[in-house]
């Protein structure tokens, strides 16, 4: 986990755990609001893709894990290739990815970080597994109970799309969120 976020060319100190937790809570609140708003307005007819893009943006800019931006180092533990060091955002003056490209350790995790990465994925996948089990349970109850059918007056495709969005969101963001949540305050000495 990096101690600072580079956003719009500015360094934002994220060494404190409270700040990182605040960021995680803020991102999930925004994603939940987006998911709720898109369901309300589009009923997943077009909204699904907006959620995917929002999740990718959150990972790229804040959470990290898959790209060189964000707080969590890339999970694949490989430094970016030279061709990838130039960002299309740079000409726009956003300067999102200017962090210490010269240092390989900026991208590589050490043995403790790799262990934490694996543990975070284990915890995340457990949670996602429970979400999927809940989805199956809801589907089962919905099939069997007419009362629940009336209460959840929602077409099955919307229900499944909704769960798919939630599972996808958790799949792409939860490991990083767990890492940012659990890493204690960082102090150089």
């Amino acid at each position: 986990v990096r101690a600072e976020l580079i956003l719009m060319g500015r360094r934002v100190d994220m060494a404190r755990q409270a700040r990182r937790r605040g960021l995680v809570v803020g991102i999930y609140i925004l994603l939940v609001l987006l998911i709720a708003a898109l369901w309300y307005f589009t009923h997943w007819r077009e909204g699904f893709y907006w959620v995917v893009w929002a999740v990718i943006g959150a990972c790229r800019l804040f959470l990290g894990g898959y790209y060189r931006g964000g707080l969590v180092k890339p999970f694949d533990n490989n430094p970016p290739r030279a061709l990838q060091t130039r960002s299309p955002f740079l000409p726009l003056g956003l300067r999102v990815y200017v962090s210490a490209l010269e240092d390989d350790r900026e991208w590589r995790s050490d043995e403790r970080e790799l262990r934490q990465r694996d543990r975070a994925h284990y915890l995340a996948y457990q949670t996602i597994g429970m979400a999927v089990a809940l989805q199956l349970l809801v589907a089962l109850v919905r099939m069997k109970e007419p009362l629940v059918q009336a209460w959840m007056a929602m077409p099955p495709d919307q229900l499944y799309y909704g769960f798919a969005v939630i599972v996808l969101t958790l799949l792409l963001t939860l490991p990083q969120a767990i890492l940012l949540w659990t890493e204690p305050d960082m102090a150089a000495d």
């Binding site: 350790r105 050490d110 150089a188």
Partner: protein
Amino acid sequence: MVVTDNGKAGPGESGLYNRIAVLRAERGVSRQDLADAVGVNYQTIGFLERGDYGPSVKLAFAIGEFFKLPIEAIFSTHPFRPLSEQVYGNRE
């Protein structure tokens, strides 16, 4: 991990006691310097010192080489006796 003279402090999650903080202080080495020398993140040194992370054999050897001490002088499964007591003995 901070091992006090009365030996009440625990070894942390790793179950290992260590003298990294003492050795660093004694030699005036920062966490960042040690981290750079052994090839880990400086936060990992903090985890090691608190005993919240048990190092791999490779990392333990690297730390031993850095301080020019055998591993058992730095890490132990039992609490270390205070250095003053080891050097001067118990005078009670």
